[in-house]
Amino acid sequence: MDLSWYLILSALLFSIGAGGVLIRRSPLVILLCLELMLNSANLALLAFSRSVGNAEGQIFALIVMVVAACEVVVGLGLIVAMYRRRLPLDVDESRGLRG
């Protein structure tokens, strides 16, 4: 398959993830949508790596996966802390920092 197919698919997945962040209000689902976006970036990186014929792009994808795992750990810790303190699990209700 041509490179452009993979890139268009990656753009489509990224747009779905971004739309999900805008639509949903549960912090857990917003984290899932961030995962969608990171994985679509991974797909683009791997497609470019295949297209150039250089395996260094796969190292980028691996590092992105590590960063995504860190983001998941910290985000889920935040959600658990919110649940412990009986804060509403709704990003629109957590507006203590709004000016």
Partner: protein
């Protein structure tokens, strides 16, 4: 054959992604993301990234998604309300996503890259194999590799600090069933007088108010610079040993029998 595999993987990935944002129960969203990740791993295999595909399935669809499932089960199946917090949010957000997709497509197809219309060069055998990835990681990219490991360590420590039990927070703010349970169970198990006084109650609700008062009195005198009950600028290291072992034995030594006038909220339970 390759086209068939690509379109199957693409349909799986797109369906999983749409299901993630369309399903109302977060638990089902997590499961849809697992489907999405498996389909994406198939696409990675088509791109000759064997090691990344294996890591995607093992690390992502295995470990990270199990973490998501645990948190979704712990937090519970909450349903999102149907009303829009911002008027027109459910109409505007897909339009913005569509606009982003159109913009990205124009940017991709308008670059004029010659490789866009080709599959790329003929790659050598062993491209993307664990051997090639390992060689790259330990020779050319050693410092990013070590930085990634350091980042993982920092994230693990940060998650432990953030999700740790802090009784001062829960006592000062609202009360949660977890704090009740952790305060109620040790005196119930170790104190025989409590069992004699209240033999038939399984949950040990009578000790809740007593344990909470004792814990609050324990936190109040501020021996280690713990400010009294405020919204906690105190360090978690000063609080955590109290939650682990400091509170419950103190209750046993100070007032072993439960005072009869103190458990009025537990009588009806």
């Amino acid at each position: 054959m390759e086209q068939v595999a690509f379109f199957a993987g693409a349909i799986g990935a797109l369906g999983g992604a749409i299901a993630v944002i369309a399903l109302r129960n977060p638990f089902y969203s997590v499961l849809a993301l697992v489907v999405h990740l498996f389909a994406l791993a198939g696409l990675f295999l088509l791109l000759h990234a064997e090691f990344i595909a294996a890591a995607q399935i093992v690390v992502y669809a295995g470990a990270v998604m199990v973490l998501y499932v645990f948190v979704a089960a712990y937090v519970g199946g909450f349903e999102e309300p149907l009303w829009d917090a911002i008027p027109g949010q459910r109409v505007l957000a897909p339009l913005l996503g569509l606009a982003l997709f159109i913009e990205l497509s124009i940017a991709i197809l308008g670059t004029g890259l010659k490789t866009l219309e080709s599959e790329g060069p003929v790659i050598p055998a062993g491209f993307g194999s664990p051997e090639a990835i390992g060689r790259l990681l330990l020779e050319d990219f050693l410092i990013p590799f070590e930085a990634a490991s350091l980042l993982l360590l920092i994230a693990a420590v940060g998650a432990v600090v953030m999700a740790a039990r802090r009784p001062a927070l829960e006592l000062a703010g609202t009360e949660s069933p977890e704090s009740d349970r952790i305060f109620a169970s040790p005196p119930h198990g170790t104190d025989p007088a409590g069992d004699v006084a209240e033999p038939s109650r399984p949950g040990g609700n009578a000790f809740d108010s007593e344990a909470r008062d004792a814990a609050a009195a324990d936190l109040a005198p501020t021996p280690e610079g713990v400010t009294e009950g405020g919204p906690v600028p105190d360090s978690p290291a000063a609080i955590a040993p109290r939650a682990a072992g400091g509170v419950a034995p103190a209750i046993d030594e100070e007032n072993p029998p439960p005072p009869p006038d103190d458990d009025d909220d537990g009588k009806e339970g």
